[in-house]
């Protein structure tokens, strides 16, 4: 098949249009990624230890953290948006036998060490977020 000058112009326009569409798609994808990035979980894990010192760790970063005071040692694990009391050298295991936390209303409480683990509140929390919990 032989291309005439008119056909060649049409083809160039088509290629240009496709290229622009691809560029627009790429830009849109980038914008979505940026938007997703800005909506990332910026909450922090707050640990108030028995000496009254506040420790802060990003909830989005997996890892373990050990807090030592004269009252004892506690190790928390942050994993996939949840926080667990991995270890505590308290007398009867009360500090370990607690549910994981992943919301701002929840806390892990280690009374013998006067240590409290919580998650900072997120201003985007939905209206049905639990504000506090009755019963220990």
């Amino acid at each position: 098949m032989t291309l005439t000058t008119g056909n060649a112009k049409t083809l160039r326009r088509s290629i240009l249009a496709i290229a622009m569409l691809l560029l627009a798609a790429l830009l849109s994808l980038g914008a979505i990624r940026i938007a997703q990035g800005s909506a990332a979980d910026n909450r922090t894990v707050q640990v108030l230890d028995g000496d009254g010192v506040q420790h802060s760790f990003p909830l989005a970063e997996n890892g373990t953290h050990t807090i030592e005071t004269e009252r004892g040692s506690n190790t928390i694990e942050i994993k996939d948006g949840s926080v667990t009391m991995l270890f505590a050298d308290c007398p009867n295991g009360d500090c370990i036998e607690q549910a994981d936390i992943h919301e701002s209303s929840e806390m892990i409480l280690c009374l013998p060490h006067q240590l409290m683990v919580s998650i900072s509140s997120d201003t985007t929390d939905a209206d049905n977020t639990i504000d506090t919990v009755a019963g220990l």
């Binding site: 007398p91 549910a99 209303s105 009374l111 504000d131 506090t132 009755a134 019963g135 220990l136």
Partner: protein
Amino acid sequence: MPAVLSGCSDSPQQSEAAPFDENDESTPTSLVTFLYDTVIEIQAYCPQELLDKVEDRLVFFENIFSRTVSGSDIDMINHAAGEPVFVHPETIDVITQAIGYSELSGGLFDITIGSVVDLWDFKNETIPEPAALEQALKHVNYRTIELGDETVTLLDPAAKLDLGGIAKGYITDDIARLLREGGCESALINLGGNTYALGSRPNGNPWHVGLQDPNQPRGTVFGSVDVCDKSIIASGINERSFTKNGVSYHHLINPTTGMPLQNGVASTTIISDRSTDGDAFSTITFLMGLAKGLDVAKQYGGLDVLYIDTDGNTIASEEMRYESL
């Protein structure tokens, strides 16, 4: 069961003092401290100076109500060998109310249980010897408390007061009053799981309070209630408890045996206007069991009751509104 409250427009006791900056809804002032052998958490939409006053008041109560603080009113009464002790008006008031709960519960609620409580150590998992319990039980009788205008006398010198079943509720009511008088219209008070929702959320919606599942580890919520100006208090087998040789022991002691009451109830939750009522009745309804507990609460009036048994079944009074999660 759906919650029914959608707003708090009828919130009582609005203060005439200037409200907190309504434009700053997202940043409540907060107070976290360890007192009464538990954690205290208060978040309030009010100036920090008001929370400073609240903290002073909390310490004041620790210093007059705690059995383990040397020189507290309760410590002095317990070591007075039957002699009258001059105490603060708040101590007279809380003991007067405690005696009232003792009378309406036929002695199931009894703050002279201190000599029995002394024998239990839930931190170190100590179970009392039967002979020691038997001896201690002889000194549990609220009728041996003699109240004067400013004095308290334990007519049985071996009796010991323990305000564990009422103090946190009483203090919560006092703190709520203090916050209101300071102009606070929106706050959450949590004294070791004893909660009070003052007013509403800053946006006018009810507070959303979770309910601990007594059959699961601490922090496991099974439901929630939407409340304004209400106290929410639970007594359960999960608090101050341990398991030894396959047997679970918890802090809800039967005053006639000195042993934890095993009646199939895992927890009772009380929603009430007054936290003092909620604290006392969460214990009373637990110890009375389902049928009698619901009946007594209904007769008293103004109490919503939720029972959870050890199999996880829930039984609620007619007025109780909660939402399962």
